[in-house]
Every structure is written in structure tokens, then in C-alpha cells.
Symmetry: C2
């Protein structure tokens, strides 16, 4: 039978590193026109909720296909299923069930944005938010840049201390909790906003020249964790999926602003068609949309690594 992994199996593997490689591959495939990534497919079970499918894969030589499914039913636990087939052999390669893969994937997309958009000299991170998304964004950042110092702000003092303690231990670099968002970002080469805030958490004027910013939280016209001032101040604004931000139910936060028209596809940057920074003091902004179809590629890399490890062990 196919390999089936749960969250605890993923802890045995360098999943963020694997996810970053997979996302880089996915984005290059997208640039080459080889990424299959149709819109989500929702099936409604009336007032009970929905099942939501993101289906995708690649069409290159070692092509794969698969899907992720998750639910919106009312209940305490929500597990996602990701399944991967080889389209060359029709073999079901495996399934990953749980919540970890989805978190790692969004982190890895942020990591690729940082790898291709931030200054290679970036050493310090300022992070707003102390949830799971903040953790995976920072973990990915630490894999693509040689970080020396991190500052974290979130509204709950307890939660920012816990975050600092946990991430310092996990990453082996100093992570300092600070008591204002200004202190978190004012000296940062890289700023990560990973909150659920519906109003801006930082101001453009607080940021250093040359900074790169990732925004992971809300970003619609009415509800956004970053204001238009930050976008306007950026020399380049990119997203992993211009189609998805255009398809948001509520319009994208840049909708109608000059920044919307110059929105660059991250795939154009990763493939070298667009240069992210022309000068060291330029500011770049990445708006994470969660490019659909990429879960399948991340799962394929993890399943292959698990198989290789099991074979070697």
C-alpha cells in the first residue's frame, strides 16, 4: 500500500528544507507553464460546511499529480489530506494526513520570497505575530539567510515570550520579545507580518531602507494587517499568485491603488525574468497568497525523503 504519514512522522524529517526545495521547483514549473494549479473546488454540504479541494501537480519529466482537501465543518479538530500520484506510472505514492504540511508549505513560500527578494546581506528579522504561521515563516527565513538576531512583537506578552523561548531554542539564534511593533521592525532587514489583525500593525515610516517585508495575514480592501503606505513605499511588490489575489471574495487590499498595477509574479523573480532589487536601499514587499497546487509538490518531496530514509535505515 502507499506510504501514509502523519504529523509525528514529519517531525523525523527536515520538512522545512524539503518544502523550500519543493516550492522553488513549483515556482519554476509555474514559470515554465508546467504547473497545474486550477482554482479551488468547493463542495457544500448545506449548513454543515464545505469540503475544499486544491488539486494540482506538474507536467514536466518526473510529473506528479495530487490534491489537498480540508473541511469547514464545525468541530475542534481539522485534518487535511494530501495525496500524490506519479502520472508516469499511475502509482499512488502516498498520503500525508494532519495539519503540519499546510503550515510548512506556507512558511516555505515565505522562505522563497525572502531568498529571492531580500538583500543577501539581510541578518535581522522583525516579526509581528506569535502563532503557527509566524513560527514557520521564521523557520524558513532562518534556512535561506544567515540570521543573527530576531525581534518579535505580539499583543500578548506571554505569547511573545513563549515564542521567543521556543524559536531561540529551535533555531539557535537570539530571539528577543519586544513590547511595541515599532521596536520589532525598526532595525530589521526582513519584516514578517503573520497576524490575524484586520487593521495595519506597522507603518511605512518605521522601516529601514532596503527592508524586505512578507505579509501572510489578512489582505483584503477592508481588512489588512499592512496599510497601503507600506505598499506605496515599496520599490517592488510581488505575490505568489496574481490569479488568486484577483479571485479573493473581497477585493485584494491593493485593489484600485497604483501598487496593484505593478504587482509582480514571484515566478518572474525566481526564474530571473525580473530583478527584485536594483540597489541596496530598495524596499520589497511580498504578499503571500498560498499558491494552490503546491501542497502536492511539498508532499511529494517529503514522501520521497521518507522513502529514501526508510530504505537506508
Amino acid at each position: 500500500m502507499a506510504i501514509i504519514l502523519g504529523d509525528s512522522d514529519l517531525d523525523q524529517l527536515p520538512v522545512m528544507q524539503l518544502a523550500i526545495e519543493a516550492i522553488e521547483e513549483a515556482i519554476l514549473a509555474r514559470s515554465a507553464g508546467d504547473l497545474v494549479s486550477p482554482p479551488r473546488h468547493n463542495v457544500s454540504f448545506a449548513e454543515k460546511g464545505d469540503l475544499i479541494f486544491t488539486i494540482g501537480g506538474t507536467l514536466d519529466d518526473a510529473s506528479i499529480a495530487g490534491f489537498r482537501v480540508y473541511d469547514t465543518f464545525r468541530g475542534p479538530r481539522h485534518e487535511q489530506i494530501v495525496a500524490v500520484w506519479s502520472t508516469e506510472t499511475a502509482e499512488l505514492q502516498g498520503l500525508i494526513i494532519g495539519t503540519r504540511l499546510g503550515e510548512v508549505r506556507t512558511g516555505a513560500i515565505g522562505g522563497i520570497a525572502i531568498r529571492y527578494m531580500s538583500s543577501p546581506e539581510a541578518r535581522t528579522v522583525g516579526i509581528i505575530g506569535s502563532g503557527q504561521q509566524a513560527r514557520t515563516q521564521l523557520e524558513a527565513a532562518a534556512l535561506v539567510r544567515e540570521l543573527t538576531h530576531v525581534r518579535v512583537y505580539s499583543r500578548s506578552e506571554r505569547r511573545r515570550y513563549l515564542f521567543a523561548l521556543e524559536m531561540e531554542q529551535r533555531l539557535g539564534i537570539p530571539v528577543e520579545p519586544v513590547d511595541t511593533p515599532l521596536r520589532a521592525v525598526s532595525d530589521a532587514d526582513i519584516v514578517i507580518c503573520a497576524t490575524t489583525s484586520l487593521t495595519p500593525v506597522i507603518e511605512a515610516g518605521w522601516l529601514k531602507p532596503g527592508v524586505h517585508i512578507n505579509t501572510v495575514g489578512p489582505k483584503t480592501v477592508d481588512e489588512h494587517e499592512l496599510g497601503l503606505d507600506v505598499a506605496a513605499a515599496a520599490d517592488l511588490v510581488a505575490t505568489d499568485s496574481p490569479e488568486q489575489v484577483r479571485a479573493y471574495k473581497a477585493p485584494f487590499f491593493l485593489h484600485g491603488s497604483p501598487s496593484a498595477e505593478r504587482l509582480v509574479d514571484l515566478a518572474a523573480i525566481v526564474s530571473g525574468k525580473v530583478i527584485a532589487r536594483q540597489a541596496p536601499d530598495q524596499t520589497t514587499l511580498f504578499c503571500s497568497a498560498g499558491l494552490s497546487g503546491t501542497e502536492v509538490l511539498v508532499a511529494a518531496h517529503i514522501l520521497a525523503a521518507f522513502k529514501a530514509k526508510a530504505g537506508a535505515g
Copy 2:
């Protein structure tokens, strides 16, 4: 983690009995308007093939949701995945991976047709075909009627002997291989056609008054294992999904014939709105479409039985 079963786990359980109960429930839910059963969802991976999803569930008190997915990639092995959630608790109840569930489900739909459409006195079966579908149809028939004798015809003498040997052992009733389709069906109370034949395999004139017929194989205008003569001779023609036969890429074999207009929904028969037979010599015909969404209900019943057995053991 959720329960995950493969084909070999299913062998430990009375899966056909469970599937027949599940299909009966599904058809009653359909009659009450509580079955969620949208059209299939296909995603194309260009010339590599497709992933095909049938998503469905029920909206009653103990409501469930889930999906089946299968592929059309080129390769020797094709495994289906069926997953089931409780929409009350959002809990992923489990997955069944393999090929057995799909076969059992189609058999169980045939079994329900036989239970509600054939004469309660039916004791003999004539079966054309000796493949997997023929096996599961006969297995289901033997659970809903007290069979005393089965005759089987298929073009390969070797295969019909093997079928007879295997099914006789499995069901504990005489199964006789015969060398013409006429001999298989002429004395049968129940006729099952489960072939891949593109041209009719039996004639209306061969059949006994009062017979019930299940057709499981091809049934489009140009390619059909049963001819219009059999449909015309039937007093009642039913299908498990009028919507699905209308949505066939090539028109349904009854399209344009008088029989098409009197096609009855099996749900109307199971729920008692339509009486299948008014007199003992009436002939009934069931055209199996494979009502989509029912795999999820069958899987739910199997997972519950597995859980009950594991709890008891």
C-alpha cells in the same frame, strides 16, 4: 490518526452486507432529498490523464461527507481513495485505499435493485460475464434472495469454469458454467449482464416471463450489452441515477426510444412511491449507473464496522 484500511482489511469484514445496507440508506436519503451527490469533478493533467473526484454525503441527523478519487494515468496499478468525515464533529473518520470498495459498491447497487425489483420468489440466476463485476453482482444477489442455482456464460470457457468453481465455493450454491448465453438465461428468474460487450449478448425472446434483469456493462446508443428489445419487453425500466445516464458523454442506449420516457428512479421504488411489479409475470430491467456519492456511505459503514470489531476484539 484516522482509521486507514486497505483491500486486505476489507477481507476481514462482511463488506457486501455492509455495502448493501449503506446503499439502501443512500437511496432512501436520495429519496428524502438528503443525499449530496454533485456531478463528478475532473481535473486534467494534459496528456498524462485525469484525477476524477466523486464527492458526496448525507444531510440527515448522523450526516457524513467525503469523496472518492481515482486516476486515468497510464500504468498497471490504480488505487482509489475514499475518505469520510463526520460533518457533526469535523472528525476525519477514516480512509479506504485500494480497488475493492468500488467493486463492492457497484455490486451492492445491483443487490438493492434485485431486492426491490425481482420477484421475492426468484431462486435462479443466469449471469453473462465472468469478471469482477459479475462476481460482486452475484455475491449481492445471493445476499438478497435465497438462490438455489446459478448458470454462467462468458466467451472464454476457461474463465467461466474458474468463475463457477470460485463462486460455488464462496456462496455455497451450485454454479454451472454453460456454453451459450441462451442456456445461461432461459430458465433464470434473475438475469445479470456484467460484460464489456459493445453489442447485445442476449435477446428478449430468450427470457422467462417475470424475469428481472440487471445491466452493468456498456449502455450507450452505439455500444450496449443489452438491445432495445429487452427494454421494450420490460414492464418497468429503472436506474439508480436518471441524472447520470442523461449526462453520459455518448447518449444512453434508450435515448430516443419509448423506454427512455418511462425510466423510473430506483429511489422511487425503494421508498415505496412506485411498485416495481403489479403481477408475477411482469418483467423488470435495472440499468446500473453507479450512483455517485454512494462510495462515501459504503466506506462509512465499513469504517464503523471495523471500529466496532477492533473495540470488541
